[in-house]
Amino acid sequence: MDFELSEEQVVLREAVRDFLARRWDAAHMRRALDDPPALIPAELWKEMGSLGWIGIATAEDVGGSGSDVLTASVLAEESGRGLLPATLSSVIAAATAIDRGGDALRTSVLPALCAGDHRVVCAIEEPGGTWGPDAVTLEASAGADGWVLSGTKILVPDTEGADLCLVAARTPAALGFVTVPTDAPGVTVTPMRRLDAQSIAEVTFDGVVVPATALVGGPERAEKTLRATYDIWTVLGAADLLGVAETALEMTTAYAKERTQFGRPIGSFQAVSHRLADLLVDVEISRSLLYAACLALDEDQADASALVSAAKAFASDTAVRATEAAVHLHGGIGFTWDLDVHLYLRRARAGAASLGDPDFHRDRVARALGRDRTDQDERR
């Protein structure tokens, strides 16, 4: 029994933190709030590829590092801490989809993807006011030369550098990802922008023709692959938010020790210190849930999806509370453009409402608990 990061994972965390501190500046995000959106430069991307980060959770035979979701979460958490665009998380998730799908794409796409020479993007969400695979309505209908896709995806991250799009669709064979080259005829990309300067887009598909072999995982494994990928992406989103929350708490704690009002450091007032103590509790619970969810995914446990939802719901609430407290407890200065505090607030708010907001995930947990109960009743 050992429920903490391994030594290797701790070393990786330090390495990532150092690397990002040297190679990525939060000020990029501030500038990007004006225009254009924040992107990871190609050379940085390539470097992360050579460090083995992009294929962290992808098998070694196709260029990945062969590690697990828990290790990937270390990268996501540090991306949150360092305000690196979350492209890394989304590509890590996309790579696992192709890896698990296990078809010809594995060998054709993954080596270049893991090396950082090539990017893949997942297009899942639609304009229906909710999230995730269950809400996918985009249909691939049978056509003369394969399948024909029509419909709209939104909130698609980082289309800029991507040449391949994994589109969640209801095909004649199964619900699953269909691969579509981003330059295929009928694909239109319209930029959107996130509150925290990250790049997102609307992608529309107007009679886009793909072969039936484009279904990732084939009819049998397509849906499972899509759902597993969404879970992995979601848990990386939770890790990102944990990094945001913990950093906000650290910044605010440091400020509370040093800022003096009424002749005392403000951290000696219980209105401040108790709020920070409560946030520490939330951060520690978030971390515990994150580990639980990653482990459940890595061990393919039956309750993995419920734990993923638990981790995401709790981390979202924690990040919003922590960053709002950070703005508030920094006082006027916390509300200025030049301090990084609002960048964390923006990322927390944006992340909390991406990949399912807390109520979405609580409802998912409620359904899972309901199924458990029904199962038990039936077994009696």
Binding site: L33, D34, E125, P127, G128, G129, T130, W131, I154, L155, T190, P191, M192, R193, R194, L195, D196, I200, E202, T260, Q261, F262, G263, F269, Q270, A271, V272, E324, V327, H328, G331, G332, I333, G334, F335, T336, W337, D338, L339, V341, H342, L345, R349, A350, A353, S354, D357, D359, F360, D363
Partner: protein, 401 residues
């Protein structure tokens, strides 16, 4: 107990209502200006805003509580309330010289010399002179009395050195009222003076500050050997703290903030009825519908609290707990409305205003940042809880100094 207005008051309301309908066009221009749209350049916009305040004043709807001799209306409290309500009902923009009207004006009426009143009050009303406030400093936020901007007397002048921050309107203001430390050796609340400073005085420079929402609302002001004539001292030398405190405590019934909250909430209910969330419309989500109901309850609570404050004022009773309570409650309510708004927007909450699919052009994200700023500016919620604990409940001070 009754909430009815007298026939005279209702007549006053009808006249105002008619006037506003007549001036509806001007009104929309002014509203556009305050939102930074519709005017060719910023100086035009400011002029339009000044003109709008002047027009409103000429019609008799600015400075209602002020004495007639300074251009005010000597109006009754109920008339003041009616003006507030009607202006809010047609969503008029805030008057450009609000700081002068609500803070400096009442201060001068109470503590100014006759000469100061005659000199400054009329031009506040007409917006001929715009005012800004120089109270906060980088090291003196919640602990306002810790301010360090120095004023030394040199002949007939104060010579001021130091820095102020979080000043609204500084780049366009004509005058500034500020607090300075005039006696560094006295206990901290006893060595402060209250001065009026012409913004064109040499040595005074203004640097705009960008806020977290990306807008420019505040500035820093730097004073380097700025000379202010002694005639511009308000009240007693070293007596500025008491003056500033009574102004800050000069709480109003808060009814105008209620009207803004009510309009926001009504708009949010419409948003919730129109937007998809989960399996249906947002308003079909039981938790959201209940939270909307709870917010309506709280807005009604705040409104009727305001009526109680107003009743005390009308009856000349000492203000009870209600005034300080309303301010704290309103700040929280404002935040909770925007929190719920972001929840209602669901997946679209993180989308900014230039994107396709954005909800109502990003109004709720803007409102969210605004509300966050509000609980800091003008006394944090923590300071307000201290005040209630000490002054209303009579608990011992938690903050010793």
């Amino acid at each position: 107990m009754d909430l009815h207005f007298s026939p005279e008051d209702e007549e006053f309301r009808a006249r105002l209502h008619a006037w506003l309908e007549e001036h509806a066009g001007r009104l929309e221009d002014a509203a556009g200006v305050m939102k930074g749209a519709g005017a060719a350049n910023i100086m035009d916009a400011i002029q339009m805003a000044r003109d709008w305040q002047r027009t409103l004043w000429e019609a008799g709807y600015v400075g209602l509580s002020w004495p007639e001799k300074y251009g005010g209306q000597d109006a009754s409290l109920t008339e003041q309330v009616i003006v507030t309500e009607e202006l809010a009902a047609v969503s008029t923009p805030p008057l450009i010289n609000t700081i002068g009207l609500t803070i400096l004006g009442p201060t001068l009426i109470r503590h100014g010399t006759e000469q100061q009143r005659e000199r400054f009050l009329p031009k506040i009303l007409t917006a001929e002179e715009l005012w800004c406030q120089g109270f906060s400093e980088p090291e003196a936020g919640s602990d306002l009395a810790a301010l360090t901007t120095r004023a030394e007397i040199d002949g007939d002048d104060f010579v001021v050195n130091g820095q102020k921050v979080w000043t609204s309107l500084a780049p366009i203001a004509d005058w500034c009222f500020l607090l300075v430390r005039s006696d560094p050796d006295a206990p901290k609340r006893e060595g402060i003076s209250y001065l009026l400073c012409d913004m064109k005085t040499p040595g005074l420079t203004v640097t705009p500050l960008r806020n977290a929402a990306g807008g420019i609302h505040f500035s820093e002001m730097f004073f380097r050997d700025v000379r202010i004539p002694r005639a511009n001292l308000v009240g007693d030398l070293h007596g500025g703290w008491q003056i500033a405190r009574t102004t800050l405590e000069h709480e109003r019934s808060g009814l105008s903030s209620v009207l803004a909250l009510e309009q926001n909430l009504a708009r949010l209910r419409r948003t919730a009825s129109n937007i998809a969330l989960g399996d249906g419309r947002a308003i079909d989500d039981q938790a959201i519908s209940r939270e909307l109901a709870q917010l309506w309850i709280e807005v009604e609570g705040l409104r009727h609290l305001g009526y109680r404050t107003l009743s005390d004022q009308i009856a000349g009773r000492p203000p009870g707990a209600t005034a300080s309570v309303g301010k704290l409650f309103a700040a929280q309510l404002r935040q909770r409305i925007t929190h719920l708004a972001l929840k209602i927007e669901g997946p679209l909450a993180p989308v900014t205003k230039k994107s396709p699919h954005v909800v109502e052009r990003g109004r709720w994200n803007a409102a969210y940042f605004d509300a966050l700023g509000h609980s800091i500016g003008g006394g944090t919620s923590e300071i307000q809880r201290n005040t209630i604990a000490e002054r209303v409940l009579g608990l011992p001070r938690s903050v010793q100094d």
